[in-house]
């Protein structure tokens, strides 16, 4: 739920990083924290266990610039990835404006990715939010590992696309980040589908972290425009 404060001339938006445990959600925030100008970010808050597993959430506010004289302030949150923390995970989704799903590319984490994606859809639905109609991007993290699944397998499992039913939207939209690929297209079966934008990342090195953040922030602001 974005909030526009005319008194302080700020637009506040909430972005949540979601995904399976140990996938790199917290690392994304740490990289953002370490690489933006100190005067454009607030404190990085982590509610974590002694072993640095996220217990409730991590939180980082960042300013991404000014539009029409309004400061655009993004509140970045991560959720705890471990399955049994669903109650706190769901709380963080309240009032969300944009979602980043951080998937773990490792072959053996495929099932955990799918479970987390299903859990995201379920939790969003409980709030009455439709993930297919909101700013949503996917990050495939850990691309540098030798056991990383091919992108096409990850796409098939996690981002197969949802059916486009609105006739006005049935036109090919190419993926600005991947030449030769489309975000909206017609399948050989005749059905139109739309996929979320995706990014490859090696979050520990910072690769792909800002591309992901920029893409989701842009979608959030465009949804307001």
């Amino acid at each position: 739920m974005s909030m526009i404060n005319y008194a302080s001339r700020e637009i506040n938006c909430k972005i949540v990083y979601y995904g399976p445990g140990l996938g790199g959600k917290t690392t994304n925030l740490e990289i953002v924290y370490g690489n933006v100008e100190p005067d454009t970010r607030g404190k990085l808050i982590s509610l974590a266990t002694e072993t640095e597993r996220t217990l409730f959430f991590d939180f980082l506010p960042v300013d991404l610039g000014t539009i029409r004289g309004f400061k655009t302030r993004f509140h970045l949150y991560t959720v705890p990835g471990q399955v049994y923390y669903n109650a706190s995970r769901k709380l963080i989704l309240k009032g969300v404006d944009g979602i980043v799903f951080v998937g773990d590319s490792q072959l053996e984490r495929m099932e955990a990715n799918q479970e987390a994606m299903q859990n995201l859809y379920d939790n969003m639905a409980e709030y009455g939010y439709d993930l297919t109609k909101m700013p949503f991007v996917i990050q495939y993290n850990k691309r540098d590992l030798p056991n990383a699944s091919p992108i096409k397998d990850l796409q098939a499992a996690l981002n197969p696309g949802w059916e486009v039913t609105d006739a006005a939207k049935m036109r090919v939209i190419s993926d600005p980040y991947h030449a030769g690929e489309n975000l909206v297209e017609q399948l050989p079966s005749g059905e139109w589908v739309e996929r979320a934008q995706y990014f490859e990342a090696v979050a520990v090195n910072g690769d792909g972290v800002f591309d992901t953040l920029k893409a989701v922030s842009k979608l959030v602001l465009k949804a307001l425009a």
Partner: protein, 162 residues
């Protein structure tokens, strides 16, 4: 407006009305500082002594505190806890729900008492609830018809992320 992302906004008039109510309350109960925090964790207003902590982080944790307590309430068969009290050695805080969307947080020290804060808080919460309900009703009525400050700003948004 995308489904599921209902927005609200408030004007400078709203802001000064809120501020006046809170200033009156602080004088009445001799508390140090009052903060209004949206349930999603965004700071709406701060009145009184300037807090010497990061107010954004404070707002986020307040909302999380309230949300977690709401869930605890449900587990014991209550709908919610409409107020929370955290007692410290020198500083304490009292939190109360306003219109189910906003949380009023009051920070106070030993210059006043919990009883006094609680007593003066009740009418203030009522007053704020009334103000916010009007504000939300107005936001809902204007949805789709209000001039959007970001309308047509696509180019500017693109430029921001170049």
């Amino acid at each position: 407006m995308p489904v599921g992302s209902s927005s609200w906004s408030f004007t400078e008039d709203d802001f000064s009305q809120i501020t006046r109510a809170l200033e009156r309350f602080l004088t009445d109960c001799n508390a140090r500082c009052a903060l209004l925090v949206d349930r999603t964790g965004q700071l709406v207003a701060t009145v009184g002594d300037r807090p010497n902590f990061d107010p954004t982080a404070f707002a986020t944790l307040t909302a999380a505190d309230f949300s977690a307590n709401d869930q605890l309430a449900k587990l014991i068969g209550e709908n919610d806890f409409n107020s929370l009290f955290h007692q410290g050695e020198k500083e304490s805080m009292y939190l109360a729900d306003v219109a189910r969307r906003v949380i009023l947080v009051v920070l106070f020290d030993n210059r006043t008492t919990l009883g006094m804060v609680r007593l003066k808080m009740r009418p203030t919460v009522q007053e704020l609830t009334h103000m916010f309900e009007q504000m939300f009703a107005r936001s809902a009525a204007q949805a789709g018809s209000a001039p959007n400050i970001l309308a047509g700003a696509d180019d500017e948004i693109d430029k921001l992320f170049r």
